[in-house]
C-alpha cells in the first residue's frame, strides 16, 4: 500500500511504510549512505505529516521486514501483548506523541504499556518528537535493575568503569581501576573490552576482576566483553557475572555478529542457573548502536534508527541488567557530527526506555567525526536530565585500546554535582565507608593510607 501526503498542492507518495519512516527521520549520514533519506526538507516534513496520521495498529499488520524472513520480526509480533496495547490501540502516531507528553500519562502507566509497544511504534513516534520531547517522556520512566547493587533509580545514575588496555596488561588495567574507584566510578560494572578474545585471556581477566571485587568487598559486578561464544565456553570455570553481547535489529545482522535468538536464550538460561547476583539476578548486558546493520549490509532498506529500536526487542526478551547504545563509536558515515550523535542518543534512550529497558549510553565519538568534548558535555547533560541509567567512565575520556573518546570519571563527578544525582545506593555506601566521597558527593583528599590498602 502506498502512503501519501499533500503539501502546498504537491502530493508526496511513499511506496511503503519503511519508506515513510526513513524519509521522516531527521537527517543523518547513515541513511544518506543507504540511499533512503528524504531528498530535501520538504519531503521530510511531508513524510512526518504522513507518519503522524498512520494508526499505531498499522505497525502490527504492515511489517517492515517480512515475518517469514526474519526472526526478529517474528519475536516482535509473537511477543506483542495485545492487552497492554489496548489503551493506545485507537491512536495514530501523532496522537501517540500527545498521549506520551500529557500530564496524566506518568511513568507507572508507561511501564504497564511497554509490552504493548513495538519497536517500530517507538521509532515512529520518536521521529516526530523534538529533543525536548524525547527527554520529557523518557525521564518519566524509571527502569530499575539489580544484580549486586541497584541501578536506574530516580535521582541516581551509575558508571561503567572501563579500564581497557591495548595489551590486556593486568597492571595497566589495575591502575585504571584504582583511578576510577577513587573517583567514585564503577557502580554499573567494571567492564573490559579485551584486546584478544580468547578463552584463556578472558578467564584470566575475569579472575583478576573478581579477586579485586571480593578483596575490597565492592558492591558491583564485572564483565569481560568477549564474544558470547567465548563467554559460554568458560562460564563453568571462570567467575562470569554479567554476560555480554552486541546485538542488532535484524536476523541477518545478528548472524553477522555470530549469534541468533537461540544462542542468546542458551546464554540467558545458563546465566540464570549461575545465580551469582546477591540482590537480583538480571545478568545480561547488551550493546547496540545505530548504523551497525547498514555496515553489515543487513538493513533491508530500513532506516538505522528503526533498526536500532528493533534491537531493543531482542534485548528485552532477556531481561537485561543494562543496555548500552554506543552512539558515536561507529563513525561519521553513520552519524556525521555532534548534532547527529546527540539526536541519535536521545532517540535511542527514549525508545529503549519506552520499551522498558534499562538504557545507558556510551556518550562518545571517534576522531574523524565532527565532534569534540564540548559535544560530549552537552549530550551527557541532556541524557542526565533525561534520566539515563548509566554512562561510561574512561580514564581522561581517552580509551587507549579502542582509540575513541568517551566520558571520563571527572565527567561523572560533574554530572552528579550539577544534577544532584548519586551513585547506586549500595555503591555509595561503600564509597562513604572507604572515605573516598563525602555525604555531599565531593571527593575527599585521598590519603596515602587508603591507597596502600588499595594497591
Amino acid at each position: 500500500m502506498a502512503y501519501k501526503f499533500t503539501l502546498s498542492g504537491k502530493t508526496y507518495s511513499f511506496k511503503d511504510l519503511k519508506t515513510v519512516l526513513a524519509k521522516a527521520t531527521p537527517a543523518r549520514s547513515g541513511d544518506a549512505l543507504a540511499g533512503i533519506m528524504a531528498e530535501d526538507n520538504k519531503e521530510r516534513i511531508a513524510a512526518q505529516h504522513c507518519l503522524s496520521e498512520i494508526p499505531l495498529k498499522k505497525f502490527l499488520e504492515d511489517l517492515l521486514i517480512p515475518y517469514e524472513n526474519d526472526e526478529v520480526t517474528r519475536l516482535i509480533i509473537d511477543d506483542h501483548n495485545a492487552k497492554a496495547f489496548e489503551s493506545i490501540s485507537g491512536l495514530t502516531v501523532g496522537e501517540f506523541r500527545d498521549y506520551l507528553l500529557s500530564y496524566e500519562v506518568d511513568g507507572e502507566i508507561l511501564q504497564k504499556l511497554a509490552l504493548g509497544i513495538t519497536p517500530e511504534m517507538a521509532a515512529a513516534v520518536s521521529k516526530i518528537m523534538r529533543n525536548q520531547d524525547l527527554i520529557s517522556v523518557a525521564q518519566k520512566i524509571e527502569v530499575v535493575t539489580k544484580f549486586r547493587n541497584t541501578v536506574g533509580k530516580k535521582g541516581h545514575f551509575s558508571i561503567r568503569l572501563q579500564p581497557n588496555n591495548p595489551s590486556d596488561d593486568p597492571k595497566g588495567i589495575a591502575a585504571s581501576i584504582i583511578d576510577g574507584l577513587m573517583y567514585g566510578c564503577g557502580d554499573a560494572l567494571i567492564g573490559i573490552n579485551p584486546a584478544t578474545d580468547n578463552p584463556q585471556e578472558v578467564s584470566k581477566l575475569l579472575n583478576q576482576l573478581d579477586d579485586f571485587r571480593q578483596h575490597y568487598e565492592i558492591p558491583t559486578q564485572n564483565c569481560i566483553l568477549s564474544h558470547l561464544t567465548t563467554t559460554l565456553e568458560i562460564i563453568d570455570k571462570a567467575p562470569v557475572d554479567l554476560i555480554f553481547q552486541s546485538i542488532g535489529g535484524t536476523e541477518k545482522m545478528n548472524s553477522s555478529f555470530g549469534i541468533d535468538l537461540k544462542l542468546l536464550k542458551e546464554a540467558y538460561d545458563t546465566g540464570t542457573e549461575l545465580n551469582r547476583g546477591t540482590i537480583g539476578n538480571q545478568m545480561m548486558y547488551f550493546e547496540t548502536g545505530q548504523g551497525s546493520s547498514l555496515s553489515a549490509n543487513a538493513h533491508h532498506g530500513v532506516d538505522q534508527q528503526t533498526l536500532e529500536a528493533r534491537a531493543y526487542a531482542v534485548a528485552r526478551k532477556f531481561d537485561p541488567f543494562l543496555v548500552n547504545t554506543v552512539v558515536g563509536f561507529i563513525g561519521p558515515e553513520y552519524l556525521y557530527d555532534g548534532k547527529q550523535i546527540a539526536r541519535a542518543a536521545l532517540e535511542d534512550h527514549f525508545c529503549g526506555k519506552l520499551l522498558g529497558l534499562p538504557m545507558g549510553c556510551d556518550v562518545c565519538y571517534t576522531n574523524h567525526a565532527e565532534a569534540d568534548q564540548d559535544d560530549m558535555d552537552s549530550l551527557l547533560t541532556l541524557l542526565g536530565v533525561a534520566g539515563c541509567n548509566y554512562f561510561m567512565g574512561v580514564p581522561g575520556a581517552d580509551d587507549i585500546m579502542l582509540n575513541y573518546q568517551s566520558t571520563s570519571f571527572h565527567d561523572a563527578m560533574y554530572l552528579r554535582k550539577v544534577l544532584h544525582k548519586r551513585p547506586a545506593p549500595e555503591f555509595e555506601e561503600w564509597l562513604l565507608k572507604m572515605g573516598i566521597m563525602d555525604e555531599r558527593g565531593n571527593r575527599n583528599e585521598i590519603s596515602e593510607e587508603i591507597l596502600k590498602l588499595k594497591s
Binding site: S29, A32, L33, P163, N165, P166, D169, K171, G172, I173, A174, A175, S176, I178, D179, M182, Y183, G331, P332, E333, Y336, T366, N367, H368, A369, D372, Q373, P395, G396, A397, D398, I400, N403, Y404, Q405, S408, H410, M413, Y414, R416, K417, V418, R443, E445, I446, S447, E448, L451, S455
Partner: protein
C-alpha cells in the same frame, strides 16, 4: 590575607601518580572540584588538536609522485569518486570506486602493486610510505614485477579496482589509519592476493599501527615480506593465512 588566598591551591592531587608508569591511560589527573585541572584539560585538547589536524591533512601528491620516481618502477596516479574530505568521511562507498575518467592501459600484468592512499590521516602516508617502500622494494625487485600507485581519497578496497585495471596478482594498500589521541599519524598496510572488486575484509591481511611509538618501519617491512611470500606460495590472503602465522604476528 589576599596573599594567602593567591597561594592557595584549588587542586586536589592524586597520591597514586606513580601508577602512571604502568599504563598510557590518563590516570591520576587530579581534580578541580568536579572537573579536570587546567593543565590536564589543555593537555587533552592539545592531543585532540593534533589528531583533528591529521584527519584534515592533505596528501602531498606532487611530492610523493616525485619521490616515487627513485624506485625506477612504473608509477600510476588514480582518482576516486570522492571530491572533498567531507564527502570522503560521509561516503565510504565512493572512496572504493575509481572515477570514470581514468586513463590507463590494461593488461600490464603486475605481480605486486603498492598503492598509496591518504585514508584518515594523509600525514601518515606523506611521512611513512616512502621509508617503508625503501625498506621493502629492494628485497623484492629481482623476483617480482612491481608497480606503484598513488590515489587520493581512497579506502582500502580501492586497491581491488586498481588491481583489476592494471591486472595485478597482489596488492599492498598503504593507508592512513583512524587517528587516536596518542597516535595521530598511524599507517596501516592491507594486503590482498587475487584482489577483485566486491571481496570482503576476511580476504585481507593487515599490518596496523605503523608509527613513531608503534610498529617500526623495519618490523612492518618484515611482516609485509612474510605476507607476500606466503600469499604467493599458498595463493591466498586473509584469515586463512593469518591463522598459520600467529607466532610471527604476536612477537
Amino acid at each position: 590575607m589576599s596573599k594567602e588566598i593567591s597561594h592557595k591551591s584549588y587542586l586536589q592531587k592524586d597520591p597514586w601518580e606513580n601508577l602512571r608508569s604502568l599504563s598510557k591511560a590518563r590516570i591520576a589527573l587530579g581534580n578541580s572540584g568536579g572537573s579536570l585541572p587546567t593543565k590536564e584539560l589543555l593537555s587533552f585538547q592539545e592531543d585532540h588538536a593534533f589528531t583533528k589536524d591529521a584527519i584534515y591533512s592533505e596528501l602531498k601528491e606532487k611530492e610523493l609522485l616525485e619521490q616515487l620516481k627513485e624506485f625506477d618502477l612504473p608509477v600510476y596516479q588514480f582518482q576516486t569518486k570522492v571530491s572533498n574530505r567531507k564527502e570522503y568521511l560521509q561516503r565510504p562507498d565512493l572512496g572504493k570506486k575509481l572515477s570514470n575518467n581514468r586513463n590507463t592501459k590494461k593488461s600490464e600484468n603486475f605481480d605486486i602493486l603498492f598503492i598509496l592512499t591518504d585514508g584518515l590521516a594523509a600525514e601518515a602516508i606523506n611521512e611513512g610510505a616512502i621509508p617503508l617502500l625503501r625498506e621493502i622494494i629492494p628485497k623484492l625487485k629481482n623476483d617480482r614485477k612491481i608497480g606503484l600507485c598513488l590515489v587520493k581519497y581512497g579506502r582500502v578496497a580501492i586497491g581491488d579496482e586498481i588491481a583489476t585495471s592494471l591486472n595485478a596478482i597482489f596488492t599492498a594498500v598503504l593507508i592512513g589509519e583512524r587517528p587516536g589521541l596518542s597516535s595521530p599519524k598511524s599507517m596501516g598496510v592491507y594486503t590482498t592476493y587475487d584482489p577483485k572488486p566486491g571481496i570482503t575484509d576476511e580476504r585481507r591481511n593487515c599490518i596496523s599501527n605503523i608509527h613513531e611509538n608503534g610498529l617500526s618501519i623495519d618490523r612492518a617491512s618484515k611482516l609485509l615480506q612474510y605476507f607476500i611470500k606466503e600469499s604467493f606460495r599458498r595463493k591466498l590472503s586473509g584469515v586463512k593465512l593469518k591463522s598459520g602465522n600467529s607466532g610471527i604476528i604476536e612477537k
